[in-house]
Amino acid sequence: MIHKTEFVYVTYISTTPEKVWSALQDAEMTKLFWGRARNVSDWQVGSTWTHGSYDDPAVIDVTGTIVESDPPKRLVVTWQSAKAPAGEPASRVTYLIESVFGAVRLTVTHDELVPDSPMAQGVSSGWPAILSSLKTLLETGAPMPMTTRRWGAPPA
């Protein structure tokens, strides 16, 4: 049986869907819970988006397009590593933000990954830390220390 490489991550956050939606796009938030990153787009369907360094806008790690946007419930983007070999197809990330019992269930599905690609390996170590830190940041006002620095960058 052939399996596509796919990951599904779920976290429950005591907050509102609007706050989760804006945290994914607000650079002042992503710099704290997403390895000092900045996501840039106008978030309209068909537009491009980039994910790169908060401090240096010239450093881009991931690019893609907005496939679906239904604030504050559902966002679907394509996801292509800036370092991917030419011709490697983009993967896809779906953010599903649902209200459950006065909290939010955030489900991040990363699929259409190339099996055993560096991106497929990075995804499985990256998302749990980022989502865990997003939860802690929204609930306590402070992120987890490990996500406040840029990953893979030389130590400051």
Partner: protein, 105 residues
């Protein structure tokens, strides 16, 4: 999401084995998981429900079948709460010890 449920779910070897199976190959159905387990479908379903309640597995419906995915987000919360915190303290103690030795010399 209660941490008690996460620790309780992890306290069972069969449930840890299920997580290992999903780590090796994510997104499997009950039948595929049972091929690797010496237990009935009912017993496996019970363990998977406990893992789902602890949010250690995420479930996606594919037609009439559930597919199970390893959800490591609660494990990261444990890591940060129970390992990261103590590690930082240990490193600070080591730093203080080094500083004391250097100040004394």
């Amino acid at each position: 999401m209660s941490m008690d449920r996460v620790f309780k779910a992890l306290a069972d070897p069969s449930r840890r084995r299920l997580l290992d199976l999903l780590h090796a190959e994510n997104g499997r159905a009950l039948g595929e998981l049972c091929e690797h387990l010496a237990m009935s479908r009912q017993a496996a379903t019970k363990h998977l429900n406990a893992l789902e309640e602890a949010n250690l597995v995420a479930v996606v419906w594919r037609g009439r079948e559930k597919q199970y995915f390893l959800n490591a987000v609660p494990l990261h919360q444990i890591y940060e709460r129970w390992i990261g915190k103590f590690e930082r303290q240990r490193l600070r103690a080591l730093h203080d010890f080094k500083k004391k030795l250097e100040d004394d010399s």
